[in-house]
Amino acid sequence: MIATSLSLPKKALKVANFIPGLVHTPVTPFTRDYRVDYDLYRKIVQFHLRNGAEALAVQMHAGESVSLSDLEQRQLIELAVTQVNGRVPVIAHVSDSGTAIAVARAHHAENVGAAAIVATTPYYWTPPPSMLIEHFAQIGSAVTVPFFVYYAPEELPGVKLGTDTVMTLIKQLPNFAGVVDASLDWQFMINILSNAWRVRPEFQLLSGTEYMVSAGAVGATSMFSSLAGVAPKLARRLYDICRKEKYFDARAPQEMLAELRQIIKRAGPAGLKGAMRAMGRDCGEPRPPLDPLPAAGAQKLTAALDALAPLRDEPRGW
């Protein structure tokens, strides 16, 4: 354990009372020549707000954060905050390879009105635990809003987030509010919460995807959803049942969302935008180096979505 003298919290921290709830994670739309389509972005934000989002987390990996310049990321967070206009909290994703770059982005996000910050383990590098702690500690202490760590070992396989690291960060960062889990790993989730709650009872586990039943059963309070752009009603139904802890009743919507996720996954990285297009909400194609969805893939995806009964109740178009 690292014994660091703590600087006192800068303000009364809002850690304890911020539970993000159902968090939609919008895509970032591009024009045909790969420029950010800011007008369409506004429309996307509106769509999410009208369709059940209790918070937005902007430019997550579903929003192709890694394919956006620093300037674009800053403009998009500003635009999101302006467009949302206080209706729901906006969580800013600030991950980068270099600690200082992520720190500056976090600082900017708070200044323009982000309600919380989220960051992953750094891209490409595989720092030892002490430097991983340093990375997160610098980002978290750059802001006074709640700070969440996003853990996605399948996307970022080089670095493991251990319980010891989480416990050290809790000691160091008064605003370290929780872990957004995309590991889907029961042992990890249980270990984090069972240890963290002993020292910070308000510490949160947030499900990083729609696999909410098992996460909720072991204590997750919130759910990040990219599929909410495709099937917002289904995401809402699953989340509401889980928040009431009626997990047996949640099995059916959970299985439907699992099926939807697998269909989109099979279509490849352009699958999410392809599915949004199939629902009448064209957001363009992903930026390179991701491939666009080929015509045959799009047809197959549309056919699979058409065959999915639960999608019949979902909104088409904007």
Binding site: L184, L193, V213, S214, A215
Partner: protein, 304 residues
């Protein structure tokens, strides 16, 4: 073959004498202990039973004792996975011959067969006997070799005796791919959690667990299962967290520390065969203090 598995099932450790030779007498006591404390089925030898450190002849001898001592009080399944597939086939035939109720098998060791190779293996195994077959999925211990939803579906369609899966990915997505495929085709199919990961599994259709801590704290395991089935989420979480602390204690060089902990519970079962270490006296003492701190010594049976 109407074998429905559910509840807290026990996979006993393998008692050994101080010279590492089989201790069949203690094995008999252990089987009786598990059944007396509520096991709904017995399955031996999982990795916890040091399966891979026993000779094929030893495995047969223990299996015969298991079937004889349990004497149909609960179903007995025999784990037949061995390094060589031909040995697994032989263990499966033996299990049938001695009157076991089912066999269980993991994806093959060491080799990295294709999904066709996996399919062929389980078909060959499953059709070689007239007993229910339980599959065992443990991707993190077998370099990613695993049951997909598709493989599960194909095997269920092919094998009428494929009735259950020991699921040890402990991963929501992997679990759901298997459970969705299996339960849609065969509603009585039993998804059985490895260790005691019941709280995240039961709401998704999980039928029970192959217990890891059952030789230490059968009451706690049973209470967790009952609480999960009753949908008491908050209480289930508390119990699951407590069992996670125990798992942290035992998972290191499993089952070495588990055997070490059984000493503190008055149920010594001897050493662990190399290359696994045997829990030292210091380690045993540490485990005993942890069990005391968790209240296990007060709430769980001591001795046989």
């Amino acid at each position: 073959m109407p074998l429905i598995l559910k509840g807290v099932m026990q996979s006993p450790v393998t008692p050994l004498k101080h010279d590492f030779s089989p201790d069949l007498e203690t094995f008999e006591k252990l089987l009786d202990f598990h059944i007396r404390t509520g096991a709904t089925a017995i399955s031996w030898p999982h990795h916890k039973g040091e399966s891979l450190n026993l000779t094929i002849a030893e495995r047969k001898a223990f299996a015969e004792v298991a079937v004889k001592v349990v004497a149909k009080r609960v179903p007995v399944s025999i784990h037949v996975s061995a390094l060589a597939v031909e040995d697994s086939m032989e263990l499966a035939r033996h299990a049938q011959r001695i009157g076991a109720d089912a066999i269980i098998a993991i994806t093959p060791y060491f080799w990295k067969p294709t999904s066709e190779g996996l399919y062929d293996y389980f078909v060959r195994l499953g059709t070689s006997i007239d007993l229910p077959l339980i599959a065992y999925n443990s991707p993190s211990y077998l370099s990613g070799l695993e049951f997909t939803g598709d493989l599960t579906r194909r095997l269920i369609e092919r094998l009428p005796n494929f009735i259950a899966m020991k699921e040890a990915s402990f991963n929501s997505e992997k679990y759901l791919e298997i459970s969705r495929a299996a339960l849609a085709l065969r509603p009585t199919f039993a998804m059985i959690s490895g260790v005691e990961f019941l709280a995240p599994a039961v709401p998704l259709g999980g039928a029970g667990s192959y217990s890891s801590a059952g030789a230490i704290c059968p009451n706690l395991c049973k209470e967790l299962y009952d609480t999960c089935v009753a949908g008491e989420s908050k209480r289930a979480r508390e119990l699951q967290f407590k069992l996670a602390r125990l798992w942290d204690l035992f998972r290191d060089q499993y089952p070495s520390s588990l055997k070490g902990g059984m000493v503190a519970m008055g149920r010594p079962v001897g050493p662990t065969r190399p290359p696994l270490p045997t829990a030292s006296r210091e380690r045993q003492a540490y485990i005993a203090t942890q069990l005391e701190e968790l209240g296990i010594l007060d709430t769980e049976p001591h001795g046989w």
